[in-house]
Symmetry: C2
Subunit: 238 residues, 2 copies
């Protein structure tokens, strides 16, 4: 049996904004608290055997320190980074214009359009229908994450098959982003990842944990994946 | 703000079976553990203000004892009982026939059909397409639960509006069944509750807790409901 915990990074430093591929630093106090919690869990029967993480700092810093402290193998999975929000990525909400009229500024005789709140709002309402300028399409994001997830599982099933003690579940920690967790869950639950309610109505909190259990048969499509918990608070009491 | 915790009852006494409207007794040891955990939580800032429960014993016993121990108002919501599985409800899986041929027995010259595993299996594969004999249709179950949920919220919003300290979140515990929790979640997340994967791939563990947060505006359809956790283990460590 494989047990995979998907943990979302802690809050990041910086003004409120849509942080996708922008490589922001995590809040170091919270990151340290999360690390201590993970390290202390290693002393229990819920110890992890391996770590996988997104290449972005807000995930990688935690994963690297945890790997070093507990001597655990770490893999950085390049395709597990957050969605790329293009022109809007990392731009503080405070710096957006409120309507299109005020956002159009004339410079050197050409109309230059500044970033508008209404454009972002439209994307948040119907994320599958709108692609922000220079951004990744939601469908590309879904397929990237889905493929990375398949590779991760395939790899872990191979390791599991080489394991001597077949009755011990193998536990993996995956340190990733809110959007990535939501897409993995939608894939396993076979839900419509295009529905905006899935993105708006389900909150994946910072530092929260979602658990996937994978049991035999392990062959190809027949992998029996089940979601047993979503977004459990891991830093506070329930 | 309203915070509503949906807790599933503990394991029940009895052989493995589909327990819907059959009024089985909960495992008393686990029920007592869950009660102690809830009572001790009342001493924290996560104390509940009110309890709502299904009329079935496996939920009501816990809710009544918790209400008495902590002096909390309790409402038994008749429409929050589990789905009615008709002829199959409460019948041990061991007592089902494995194929239709062996299930047909001739008695007094008439062919009498016994309960078949294949019939149950077909329902579990496509629960929205098949109605088991004498059972509730999945769509009726969904609408019953959805309406009960609406009434519950409406009532709580009224209580909240009469509350003096507006800034304290009002916390409600709802003791119900796995199927009921899954339907409430599907309703809030606006998911397709007819999809079998929603019923098969998401496990709502015994004694697990799922949390809904409802924030202003409180008017009618505009109620801002968000799911913040699904099926957190409440009796064990994460």
């Amino acid at each position: 049996m494989l047990e995979i915990d998907l943990i979302r990074h802690v809050k990041v430093k910086g003004k409120p904004a849509l942080y996708g591929c922008t490589d922001v630093t995590p809040n170091m106090v919270e990151n340290a608290r999360l690390l201590e919690r993970l390290v202390s869990q290693q002393q229990t029967n819920k110890a992890y055997h391996s770590i996988v993480c997104s290449p972005l700092k807000r995930c990688q810093l935690l994963a690297k320190e945890f790997s070093a402290r507990c001597n655990l193998p770490l893999e950085i999975s390049l395709d597990l980074h957050e969605m790329n929000f293009g022109c809007f990525d990392g731009v503080a909400f405070d710096d957006l214009y409120f309507n299109e009229t005020s956002a159009k500024t004339e410079q050197y005789g050409e109309i230059e359009t500044e970033l508008c709140w209404s454009q972002l709002e439209a994307f948040l309402q119907t994320p599958a229908d709108i692609v922000l300028p220079d951004a990744e399409a939601l469908s590309d994001f879904y397929h990237r994450v889905k493929n990375a997830w398949h590779r991760l599982i395939e790899q872990q099933v191979i390791v599991l098959s080489q394991q001597r003690e077949l009755h011990t579940p193998r536990r993996i920690l995956v340190v990733v982003h809110g959007g990535v967790i939501r897409m993995i869950l939608a894939h396993i639950l076979q839900l419509d990842w295009q529905k905006s309610s899935w993105h708006q109505k389900l909150k994946i909190g910072h530092g929260s944990m979602s658990r996937i259990v994978i049991s035999q048969p392990y062959q190809d499509d027949q992998l029996n994946q089940q979601v047993t918990s979503i977004a459990m608070p891991f830093l506070e009491d329930l």
